[in-house]
Symmetry: C2
DNA sequence: TTCATGCTTCGATGGCGGCCGAAGCATCGA
DNA sequence: TCGATGCTTCGGCCGCCATCGAAGCATGAA
């Protein structure tokens, strides 16, 4: 059987605590060095090197070498989607009852806004996609999504670099892909446009990365901007 | 970290050849006995029993006992979605180049129509969802989906048992969930409605299960029905 | 009650793989 | 050229777990 053994190989790679810790650390789309990932996983660099090598040949990771550093990142958004899928199962009720679950304020922050691969996820991201759909900026999000002409104008008006994003691929259709959201399980905006949107949020200082977590914090100006541009109340404005 | 270890546990379960073979065998939503699954995986019953027990406590499988038989099925559609996600990675170009891939006619059939958990998947299923969206039978499929009043009338007219399906849950909203599709990566109709729809296709003898494969064959009358009801040309009418 | 079937539990075995120490390559700075 | 840093390769150790034989429980039939 073609698929069966392939599935087992891929899943076995994720099925190691050290490797899954590294993969989760890379879920925000950044590229990290081998030693950084070794620290994340709590293992020695030589062990991490072995893991990273195996995940790379399996197509889970991609490597870019800069000088004597080697930066590792997730190979594709398919991999990120897969990990979100596994997360969803791991977070299901059947497993929650087993171990005690305390959903602290930090988890709440992650659930509200976090980075998924290279774009924004969480309830805020879902709300953004909803509003843009309501206003006709995005059409047919379920079927791959298409950015309308009004959508281009709108995004450009709030400082998103739509044009370079548009130049990077051939068809406009592919830009707004739905991406099953871990906590919300509803689509948000991914792809090149999603990356450009998140990038703009950082450049405007609407949002900031959080150290040691996938959570993204929303600044005061960001809360105001979300309200005025999207009509989203994040509770901090 | 809460999620990291949980992810590794779930993935490690899938990461065994015998277990992944069983999971794939269950992907069509049917419930199989322990011995049947042992045959699928090519292992002894006692070994299979151990695997099934572990997957059940982990929340991957659910068991129903009938007499001296124990029927195992996937615990939820979340699990099915996860496995499709892993399949997508295993089928990615990076892995295809490694081993030889021959996409024979049988793979083409699987890609066109197959069962995913308890509902229909493949290009036909995507087309069905598209048409129903175009005609306003389904609204907002991307955001969980909602069946409109016209949709209820339509489905009832083609012999889908909508009413029992509607009674089985509380809100109409939950019925049409998008489900990332393995080959198409576009949403199709899942949930209770999706199950009722597939069921109707079997009862009308529009489609038939294929032995030893997830593929679903389309009968001649089924092709005609798809064309007249949905305007979908499957190439066999 | 007795036997057969389906499945589970127990115990022992064997192998795969994660882990680290030490050594071997690259790259950068002086 | 020499040392420092980042990373990889090699070798050996250890533990976990998949596997199967045999025995123990259920359920159903004779």
């Amino acid at each position: 059987m073609l698929t069966t053994t392939g599935i087992a190989e891929i899943a076995a790679l994720v099925g190691d605590p050290a490797r899954s810790a590294m993969l989760v650390a890379l879920m925000d789309g950044r590229a990290l060095t081998a030693t950084e990932l070794a620290n994340v996983a709590g293992i020695m660099p030589q062990t991490a090197s072995s893991h990273l090598g195996r995940m790379t040949v399996a197509g889970l990771l991609a490597v870019e070498r800069q000088g004597r550093h080697r930066y590792h990142r997730l190979a594709s958004s398919t991999v990120a989607t897969m990990i979100e899928g596994i997360m969803a199962v791991a977070a299901e009720p059947a497993n929650r009852t087993k171990r005690k679950v305390r959903t602290g304020p930090r988890d709440a922050a992650v659930r509200r806004a976090r980075s998924c691969y290279d774009h924004l996820a969480g309830s805020i991201a879902v709300a953004v996609a909803d509003r843009m759909g309501e206003r006709g900026y995005i059409t047919d999000l379920a079927a791959g999504g298409e950015l309308s002409a009004e959508g281009v104008v709108f995004l450009r008006s709030i400082g998103v670099d739509v044009d370079t994003a548009l130049n990077r691929t051939t068809a406009r259709k592919l830009f707004c892909r739905p991406c099953l959201d871990w906590s919300e399980r509803r689509p948000h905006i991914a792809g090149t446009i999603g990356a450009a949107l998140l990038n703009a949020c950082f450049e405007h200082d609407w949002m900031r990365r959080t150290d040691g977590s996938r959570a993204i914090s929303i600044t005061r100006t960001g809360a105001l901007a979300l309200n005025s541009n999207f009509g989203i109340k994040s509770g901090e404005e």
